[in-house]
Symmetry: C2
Subunit: 133 residues, 2 copies
């Protein structure tokens, strides 16, 4: 059982009830949810919850390294608890997003961990040769 209050303190985040519940939800539900999905799930427990709080909290968690923000195939931003580098696989039929733990070499495959790969999306981010130094 993870002590989410302590975990937030360690990251320099004051552990409010809302923040603890949001982090707990992300840890227990590895579904790469959108901010709205987090809100819809938690507003039942916390009827006074504001969507703005969810957005602000997820952004703060990301900045402090507690969560990772993903830019997947659609324009919604999704969040996940797993901060280890890994590959995402999205099913075009059911919409589920699977974590792929294999190394990047797998990109040459048309099939990976039982999934049929139709599209590869590879994006890098950094500082270009013109902007270095």
């Amino acid at each position: 059982m993870i002590d989410f209050k302590e975990l937030l303190k360690e990251h320099g985040i004051a552990p409010s009830i809302q923040r603890i519940k949001i982090l707990e939800f992300l840890e227990k539900n590895r579904i790469h949810p959108t901010a709205d999905m987090v809100y819809q799930a938690l507003v039942q427990e916390i009827p006074t919850l504001s969507k703005t709080t969810v957005y602000n909290t997820l952004k703060a968690f990301t900045e402090k390294g507690v969560l990772v923000a993903l830019s997947l195939f659609e324009n919604e931003v999704r969040y996940e608890y797993n901060t280890e580098p890994h590959i995402h696989f999205k099913c075009i039929k059911c919409g589920k997003i699977y974590d792929i733990s294999k190394a990047f070499e797998c990109l040459n495959n048309k099939e990976i961990e039982g999934h049929k790969v139709l599209e590869h999306h590879v994006n890098l981010k950094g500082i270009c040769k013109n902007c270095r130094d």
Copy 2:
């Protein structure tokens, strides 16, 4: 000199003035522009141009395989003429997006074609093992 009118016909797209100009712009300006960037550039030539036409045209071109739509790091969709599979590198300082023609094995590198790589974004799309057959 590419015959854009002919190219559109070959893809089953009626070659209107707007469509030819949009395709021509994408071929000549390899800057991975947004729909709005295309609109801003062409509305000077075609003052009556509608942004809806740009959106509709880019979507049609993508569906017919004339262009490729990208989901990069931000939520804007960008489009490009190059339909060959390749990797994108975005500079976090100047915002430019570079095409990387090297194969996917490069992902193990921290530096590629002179650019300093800080983040790798790898996303796959297809049909998951539960949805096959």
